[in-house]
């Protein structure tokens, strides 16, 4: 058969590679900064743009979508061309994909620092960026499927299936979770409220881990681990079974993020059951990776690349065992809202994603530049720094999580809370926060060594934008979109996999969605729950802007230790007007769902101005700008109208009078503050925030009083 000559596009691989490294350093640096702010709050430089609540999402988005995202694209653009024996479908699309993605990252970082956020974890970006992500993702998809269509290799290697499943699922997840109604250019409300929003969000959040941090990386593992070890994957059959079972099961497990919450019980149990089942396919992948190295462990001793990959695969195995364990209700009761979860995700992020990326970079950069790695020794030092960093990070966070959780739950023999002051449990774990930051510092130092090492490697080599290759042509596939050729089109294997993966993924999601959306009994309505007043709504948006949800939950679980500390446990019906829901996932500070009426207005005013004046030793940052910035009331009309359009029962025409109500409520709060001796103006943002905080959880308290009457 005649050989066709063509070339691989290496330039795009290089670009994504450089972006991976740059954003990796940036994302980890921000991580180190927020980790340090937790024991030294002054590191926010007293700027609203660098305060924990705003830059935590920058850290998570940067490491997930910028570092790991670019690494995925680097790996896909490199391996897909070779597995398909074809150049990428379109150089222009590659270019649009690369620059579009980098632009999104920059805009994301800027808008998050400015406080434009939806507050939904890992989906914080506002609607214009959501649209941009969709467009770029489609460009990536066309480029990928185009390449698969014109491939010269009939069989689709297992890695490609993982890429396909990734593309399809991320597209669905992103779109479904981003259905929001714009209020302004940088402000929107999700159409879902309360429990429904929580379900959609964690269906997304869980599957972002599954299909952005796991499946594409398994694809990369199936390509780069055999390449680096120079031996085939242990069992190709296992890889096939492992792929189908993984994508089928993963999509059902989302509710394990909401155990003991106001989510219906059956949905929680479903999430737990599928999480346990996930061990099998996950470990199938881990075993397949590790056993690939059977008989080659002497190589692992020598080769830093394989060391990175072995630790990565091991970390994957540990994290995917721990995940199901954490989804057991009794374990989750202890671990949820604590640093244990932070430890868990960082085993995955630092170990699995980070180390696999480093292994790939150490293998790929010398290959692209046709040279040897500049220094094996530096790579080994990087390996040990990184490993040590992970150990420091994880062990301190396990320690801190379990310690704090046990303190929260400790009762005295008389039946009162042993540590009624939340702050006491925080102060106990401050040393662990310091050790965690040290671990992060070690890990980042290793990465900086890698940057130097790879730079020197590239410097000593020569790079070719287009790498010549040749392969026999595949029997010509006719244009699949021409009319009358639909039968042929249906038989195209990429579409096959596209369809199958989409279907597999959607069934799981739909079965969980439909009942919760439509069965009214899932969300008991409570007569005393009313929509937020305009001032409270504005205050809530400030709460969202400042990222309060990053440290404060609004979900009291039905445990005695929580009802004693915070008050009556949370009911689903209390959240029906919460667009978005603000349950949170971490309690660095106390739960706020019953915050309303606990403290006088003056307490909140002084506390926001300087938390340690009210709570000595508090690690909460100060928010002095709330006291000086004027509340923007021009948005009230649009906000009320938008809320009404998604089902919040504000009376028709209310938006015209909303600002009158807003001012009246603001006046009463300002007067109250004045009486307490705090000279507050009624047009400041703090007034709105206080209004919101004082409203939190009071609907039910009102109800109780009514019942007593």
């Amino acid at each position: 058969m005649e050989l066709e000559r063509f070339s691989y596009d290496n330039k795009i691989v290089k670009q994504f590679g450089i972006a991976t490294i740059v954003w990796g350093v940036v994302g980890m640096l921000v991580g180190l900064l927020i980790a340090s702010q937790l024991f030294y709050p002054a590191l926010n430089f007293n700027l609203q743009y660098t305060t924990f609540g705003r830059i935590r999402p920058i850290h998570t988005n940067a490491v997930i979508f910028a570092f790991v995202g670019n690494a995925i694209f680097m790996g896909v653009y490199h391996s897909l061309q070779r597995l398909c024996k074809a150049r990428m479908y379109s150089d222009l699309l590659s270019k649009i994909h690369f620059w579009g993605w980098q632009l999104i990252i920059v805009v994301a970082a800027v808008t998050l620092a400015l406080g434009f956020t939806t507050s939904k974890e890992y989906a914080e970006l506002e609607w214009p960026i959501d649209i941009a992500i969709t467009l770029i993702w489609v460009a990536f998809g066309i480029n990928m499927f185009g390449t698969i269509f014109k491939r010269r290799e009939k069989h689709l290697y297992v890695a490609i299936w993982f890429y396909i499943a990734t593309w399809v699922t991320v597209a669905i997840l992103h779109i479904v979770n981003s259905i929001e109604i714009p209020v302004a250019f940088w402000k929107s409300y999700p159409v879902y409220a309360g429990v429904q929003d929580a379900l959609v969000q964690w269906w997304y959040g869980h599957n972002a881990v599954a299909f952005f941090l796991t499946t594409p990386y398994l694809g990369l593992m199936y390509y780069y681990l055999p390449k680096a070890a120079k031996r085939p994957i242990y069992s190709y059959k296992l890889s096939i079974i492992h792929f189908w079972s993984l994508i089928f099961i993963y999509i059902w497990a989302g509710p394990h993020h909401l155990l003991y919450s106001a989510l219906p019980d059956w949905a929680q149990s479903l999430g737990t059951a599928f999480s346990i089942m996930l061990i099998a396919p996950s470990w199938g992948g881990m075993i397949n990776g590790l056993l690939t190295l059977r008989g080659a462990w002497d190589k692992v001793r020598q080769d830093p690349i394989l060391k990175f990959m072995v630790v990565a695969v091991t970390a994957y195995g540990m994290a995917t065992f721990e995940g199901p364990m954490l989804s057991l209700k009794n374990v989750n009761a202890i671990a949820h809202f604590t640093d244990w979860i932070i430890a868990h995700v960082h085993i995955g992020a630092l170990g699995w994603n980070g180390f696999l990326t480093f292994g790939i970079l150490y293998w790929l950069i010398p290959k692209l530049w046709k040279t040897e790695l500049f220094s094996k020794k530096l790579a080994n030092i990087h390996f040990w720094l990184g490993t040590l960093g992970i150990v420091f990070y994880a062990s301190s966070m396990y320690w801190s999580g379990i310690t704090q959780s046990l303190m929260w739950k400790q009762f005295t023999p008389l039946g009162t809370l042993q540590y009624p002051n939340f702050l006491e449990t925080t102060l106990q774990i401050i040393p662990m926060y310091m050790i965690r930051a040290t671990g992060g510092l070690l890990y980042l130092s290793g990465v900086l060594l890698m940057v130097y090492n790879l730079y020197k490697t590239a410097k000593q080599g020569t790079f070719e934008d287009n790498e010549a290759a040749e392969a026999p042509a595949l029997v010509k596939v006719e244009d699949p979109f021409v009319k009358g050729k639909r039968h042929r089109w249906l038989e195209g294997k990429p579409i096959q996999f596209l369809l199958v993966s989409m279907v597999v993924v959607m069934i799981g999601g739909l079965v969980e969605f439909i009942p919760t959306f439509l069965v009214k009994s899932n969300i008991p309505t409570i007569a005393s729950v009313h929509p937020y007043t305009p001032l409270e709504l504005q205050g809530r948006d400030i709460y969202i802007r400042e990222g309060c949800v990053g440290c404060h939950s609004q979900l009291i679980r039905p445990f005695r230790s929580e009802t004693e500390r915070y008050g009556e446990y949370s009911k689903a019906g209390e959240y029906v007007y919460d667009h978005p829901f603000l349950w949170g996932s971490k309690r660095t500070g106390p739960d706020l769902h019953r915050e309303g009426g606990k403290y006088p207005n003056m307490w909140h005013y002084l506390h926001m101005e300087n938390p340690s004046s009210m709570s000595p030793g508090s690690i909460m940052p100060a928010f002095p700008w709330l006291l000086t910035q004027n509340l923007d009331t021009t948005t009230t009309v649009a906000k009320i109208s938008a809320m009404r359009s998604i089902g919040v029962p504000y009376p028709a025409g209310y938006e015209k009078y909303a600002n009158q109500d807003l001012n009246a409520q603001a006046d009463s709060i300002a007067n109250d503050l004045m009486k307490a001796g705090v000279p507050a103006e009624n047009n400041k943002e703090i007034i709105a925030l206080i209004a919101y905080l004082q409203r939190l959880g009071t609907d039910i308290k009102v109800n109780k009083q009514q019942v007593q009457k």
Binding site: P226, R231, A469, E491, V503, I514, L518
Partner: protein, 54 residues
Amino acid sequence: MSVIVVLIGISLFVAIGFLVAFLWAVKSGQYNDTYTPSIRMLFDDEKKQKKDNQ
């Protein structure tokens, strides 16, 4: 409540699509050979290296 009809419609479509696609996948022979692909992916680089040496 018309959304019920829509959602059931989508899920039925999706479920049937899955069934058809899955049956087709098994018949298509994509999985007839579950060994050589794992070996083949290792080779493309080495061929190129040989070429470079020539």
